[in-house]
């Protein structure tokens, strides 16, 4: 058989092998895609209810007799705050269901609305004091989370009594119950009551924590990478430092949390649960990522550019700052943003330093007690109330949106800074 026949015979096999390999690749991509789609569909479908809140329209009496106020009385802030708003809501509920008289049924009736309803009403009255004296005003009042679940998902839980189902049916017929966009989810912090729980605290906690992380890890990381790559003498000590940086990248994150607890909180006495400590711990965790990717980016700068600058009489430092760092910037920024995205999604080390505490206040700075988005997810996923399932999924969705935004930013920045040479 001549050579060309042999080649021809093998050619078919070679092509078949190539096609098979491409098929494997396509299948792998498809599988990945299917799992991603399943994940997203699951999260989005679970999260959707959390963006809607069930509210009940109540006619609240505000005449002076009900409020036990003299018509001539001056309405200052203290008087307004001290009014019996809980009582007003109960009165409104009794008026809406005049047939309910028995004590235990009344109790069930009062449970239709959220515990936070009185505060909604108080805030409304304080910002509109001219309403005092009117016979009644109509106000949408947030429903209790069990009623919310019943109305939105039409699922009966053991926590809802048959009497309450009947109340909801009646409200439906009177068009006094509806779902509205859940602003509470974005304007409130954590709460034991799902209908009053929101992510504002966790969102700001994440912001302060990441701010500390960014301000610490970016300059330190780039500085270390530039020094190690460009100026460090080639000796045993440098090798030792390099090996340890690579090792640090592989250390489980919870270990950094333990370190933070021992060093920053116990030894330096920094406040517990504070974004400052969280940021410090996450900086430690992010530094190796930033250093390694920055070094790779600096190494990738063509030596010809460095030689050109040195040949013109630029000093080593000038060469690095005028040419090497600008050319390495896309890689450095990509590494930094990926490190930040990692930090944004990190939970374990923050549990160790107390950011897992139940915190209702919105943190105003890096020293206030705070929690972060992934820890909030962890907390809510652990809660027994049914409505927290939706809140958990919604928070995951918000976190995913932030991660996607950061990664998009990384790509855009790389495109923007990338220059051909």
């Amino acid at each position: 058989m001549s050579n060309i026949k042999l080649v021809e015979k093998n050619l078919k096999k070679r092509y078949a092998r190539e096609r098979r390999f491409q098929l494997y690749g396509k299948m792998a991509v498809l599988t990945g895609f299917i799992f991603l789609a399943l994940l997203l569909i699951d999260i989005i479908s679970k999260a959707m209810p959390a963006f809607q809140a069930t509210e009940i329209l109540l006619d609240i009496p505000l005449d002076h007799a009900t409020l036990e106020l003299e018509p001539a009385q001056k309405l200052d802030q203290d008087t307004l705050s001290a009014l019996n708003y809980a009582g007003l809501i109960k009165t409104a509920l009794r008026q809406a269901f005049p047939e309910v008289t028995n004590r235990s049924d009344k109790k069930l009736l009062y449970k239709l609305v959220s515990d936070g309803a009185e505060f909604t009403l108080r805030d409304h009255i304080i910002s509109n004091p001219e309403l005092i004296g009117k016979d009644s005003i109509s106000l949408w009042i947030k429903a209790d989370d069990d009623i919310d679940t019943l109305f939105k998902l039409e699922t009966l839980t053991s926590r809802v009594k048959p009497e309450q189902v009947a109340f909801v049916e009646q409200l439906k017929q009177e068009n006094r119950i509806a779902t509205h966009f859940n602003t509470t989810f974005f304007s409130n912090s954590d709460s034991r009551e799902p209908e009053q729980a929101g992510i504002k605290g966790a969102l700001l906690g994440s912001f302060w924590t990441l701010l500390v992380t960014l301000l610490l890890s970016l300059p330190i990381g780039i500085g270390a990478a530039v020094y190690l790559e460009e100026f460090a003498p080639q000796n045993k000590l440098t090798d030792f430092v390099e090996i340890n940086i690579n090792n640090l990248a592989a250390v489980p994150s919870i270990v950094f949390g333990l370190l933070g607890l021992a060093v920053f909180i116990n030894f330096f006495g920094m406040p517990r649960s504070a974004p400052l400590v969280g940021g410090l711990v996450l900086s430690l965790m992010t530094l190796p990522t930033i250093i390694i990717s920055s070094r790779a980016a600096i190494k990738a700068v063509p030596p010809s550019i460095k030689e050109a600058a040195l040949g013109l009489g630029a000093s080593h430092v000038q060469t690095v700052f005028h040419h090497v760092i600008p050319l390495a910037m896309p890689g450095i920024l990509t590494g930094a943003i990926i490190g930040m995205a990692q930090a944004l999604g990190e939970t374990a080390p923050l549990l160790m330093i107390g950011m897992v505490a139940f915190i209702v206040d919105v943190p105003g700075g890096i020293l206030d007690s705070a929690t972060v988005l992934p820890v909030q997810i962890y907390l809510w996923a652990d809660s027994p109330e049914r409505a927290f399932t939706a809140l958990t999924a919604a928070t995951i969705l918000v976190l995913l949106v932030f991660l996607a935004t950061m990664n998009t930013l990384a790509i855009l920045l790389r495109k923007h800074f990338e220059k051909r040479w």
Binding site: A308, L310, G311, L312, K419
Partner: protein, 289 residues
């Protein structure tokens, strides 16, 4: 199907009347020709260069005169680029590289502790094998050197330096309408002339060129060669080249390196017509290299 093997061409017999000098292969040797001249611009004595344990240059002495073009030729790996790079201390950037010997520029020791390599490189510019413009505009490429050395006190002076340098490099006419376009967008030959303009913008005394035309087509090469000839009026030039025709066209003196040794130095016309060493003759007649 088998390929018909052609008979190897018979070696062309050389008929030489005069006896050629055989250079000994031992570490001690003597350079043939006038490697030492009176009143040199650059003077090197007993230069040895090591990369780690490997010695790249052996006991080489070579003088370079004012306003002359000296071509360094030789087979790949013979050390000519290494020798060139030791003239402006570019080898300092390679950690394992060690240079010994005496280097003087206008009688000043360039490897002295008091000599600042930054200052030296402002006096001894360099053009590289592959055109390496910065990923910046044409203007900024040329202006970079004057800027870092503070050669211009205002923008008008800087403009003046940039334009004169581009003119001297024969590039100004081609790029005068797009000085803000990226330097990397020019053609290969234009990029190399941009690099030459960038080098002369610092007004060096000596320009080192490391195979400046090896990546260019014959037309671009011809332009560069003409340019080198013009630059000789103002600068001293040391050029490494693989092309013997180029060495013959642009240089006044030629130095032949072989395995890290400077074998023969002489007037270019003499080296290419009547080399005194057998190694030199073998190289220029194409018997090896």
């Amino acid at each position: 199907m088998s390929i018909q093997q052609t008979a190897t061409a018979p070696a062309i017999a050389q008929t030489q009347t005069n006896q050629k000098i055989m250079t000994s292969t031992s570490d001690t040797y003597k350079t043939v020709g006038r490697n030492i001249i009176p009143n040199p611009k650059f003077s090197t004595r007993n230069v040895n260069v090591f990369y780690g344990d490997k010695q790249a240059i052996f006991d080489t002495s070579l003088d370079i005169g004012n306003n002359e073009v000296v071509a360094l030729i030789g087979p790949s790996g013979c050390g000519k680029s290494t020798f060139l790079r030791s003239l402006n201390r570019m080898n300092d950037t390679i950690p394992i590289c060690r240079v010994t010997g005496e280097f003087t520029l206008d009688g000043e020791d360039i490897y002295a502790k008091t000599m600042d390599p930054v200052l030296l490189r402002a006096r001894v510019g360099m053009v590289f094998q592959k055109a390496n413009p910065f990923p910046k505009s044409i203007y900024d490429n040329v202006a970079y050197g004057p800027r870092i050395h503070g050669l211009a006190s205002n923008n008008a002076e800087l403009d003046e330096i940039v334009i004169t340098s581009l003119e001297k490099a024969g590039l100004f006419k081609e790029v005068k309408d797009r000085l803000n376009a990226p330097g990397t967008g020019l053609s290969g030959g234009q990029q190399q002339r941009l690099c030459i303009a960038r080098t002369i913008a610092v007004s060096p005394e000596v320009i080192l060129m490391d195979e400046p035309a090896s990546a260019l087509d014959p037309i671009a090469t011809a332009i560069i060669e003409e340019l080198i000839d013009e630059l000789r009026e103002n600068f001293t030039i040391v050029i490494v080249t693989h092309s013997m025709q180029q060495a013959a066209r642009v240089s006044q003196r030629t130095a032949y390196f072989h395995l890290g040794k400077l074998i023969e130095v002489g007037k270019t016309s003499q080296i290419f017509t009547n080399p005194r060493c057998e190694l030199t003759e073998n190289y220029i007649t194409g018997k090896f290299g």
